[in-house]
Symmetry: C7
Subunit: 98 residues, 7 copies
């Protein structure tokens, strides 16, 4: 059985989308941008950010979503042979709709 | 079908207005200003900033609005061949009414 | 028709009052002051600062008010041939009553 | 008619008390103090600091009060030939009772 | 009549206790401590810190209390010939009970 | 009887998982990662973070959980001959499900 | 009669536990740790941290508790011939249960 990880707080787990993979065709991430964003697919979603009243804010992303996020955000690990990234929802710039 | 992106949180997507494009005529952005603002047209609007009570604050902008924003705000990407910018609503200085 | 701009959040638009313009006579802004304030007239007012409960705080200024503000506050643009400044209400020191 | 100014937010307007002016006799402000406080008389009071709930906190000072405040606080201007200072209520250390 | 001062906000007025004065005997403040605390007697108490809801938090000290406070806290002035210090309640480490 | 410790606030106590120990097989923590995460097992959980309303937020971890956390987080001590770490819940990146 | 001190706010008073004193045996504090924690016994507890609503949060420690705390936390004084430390509850890492 494959190992999985469940992110805490408002963190999500992202699998980066490599250039050779088939993705939503319309997006080009220029090399010259000041903060080059990266594309990835959401593979796990945390319970949401803790609010001052003790509840948690719902995360506006779900497994399978394609997202853009800042290059230097989050922490990289290898899970079952694949590179993944654990980052916070606030590091995600936008959701991509193909 | 064109790819679109849906910004998260209080982010909006802006298409910059080039000088040659027909725009609201009255505005001149001087080269000598300390923080030179730029003009753009809103092409997508996020769900709004998360409040302490778990609700989201409505964004005071909608698709098609012409706006002024700080030059160094946000992240640039290319979407379907066009340069766009993802920035936060708080980076928008004013809405232009022609 | 003249172009106008509508500031966002707690921002206001100010037209600086030049020395030769007839203004409230009693105020002198010394050149030697550490942070030299400037005079201006309010030409547009935003919807007010977003509060934690999702409402907006009313701005205590209206179009036509003469105000004092810090020299280095805000962003300058030219609108219909006139220099204006977009700044936050909190950058305004006081209202001048002639 | 004299020009007056009405401070915004939690700001107050102070007229500094010069050494030769008759003041409350018991206070000496040593030259050697790390942050030398200064004396002044309140000439105008703002509406109070904006609270998170949208109300304003009442300012605990009124016109005519003699106060001590930090030397480097606030902004100086000349009003009707007199030096005044616009500063925040939180820059006031104490009220002097003669 | 002696001049008195009334501190604002959560400030208190302290008269430092000199070594030769009779005080609570058990406390020694070592010269080698990183942040050497000092002893003083409370001579005036402000209305308390302003809370987010507009009320003020009661100050847990009263006139006559002997307190320990950080050496570099507050502002020194001379009042009626005596050195006093205006500091915030949060600068007080502890109350001394003899 | 073994000594135990009970962490305060939102802190937890972690026993690091050494490489030779049998663990969830799928995770590899690359040496080249910018902020190399580490694996550990939760051995004690605090009462939770203090909220503005005076309650405490429940901690989403329990004794026995395997977690990933940042290498430089927390404080190391030896307890009954074993290395443990005291860190805050917010330093935990994710829970590992084997 | 011995002098005692009563800490303010969320502060507590700690008497450090020297190595030669009989303590809970299982804990070793390695010299090589980045931030070496220290052991101590609680001798006084403040009224608790002031909350936004004006109440105070109860402190989760009581007189006699053995605690671990960061080496550089707090302020040292001598009280009745004994070294004590005044520090904040948030500087305490964990309570030791023998």
């Amino acid at each position: 059985m494959a190992t999985t990880i469940r992110p805490l707080d408002d963190r999500i787990v992202i699998k980066e989308i490599e250039a050779e993979e088939k993705t939503s065709g319309g997006i080009v991430l220029p090399d010259t941008a000041r903060e080059k964003p990266q594309r990835g697919r959401v593979v796990a979603v945390g319970p949401g950010k803790l609010l001052d009243n003790g509840n948690r804010a719902e995360i506006g992303l779900k497994e399978g979503d394609e997202v853009l996020f800042g290059k230097y955000a989050g922490t990289e690990i290898k899970l079952n042979g694949e590179e993944i990234k654990i980052l916070r929802e606030s590091d995600v710039l936008a959701k991509v709709i193909s």
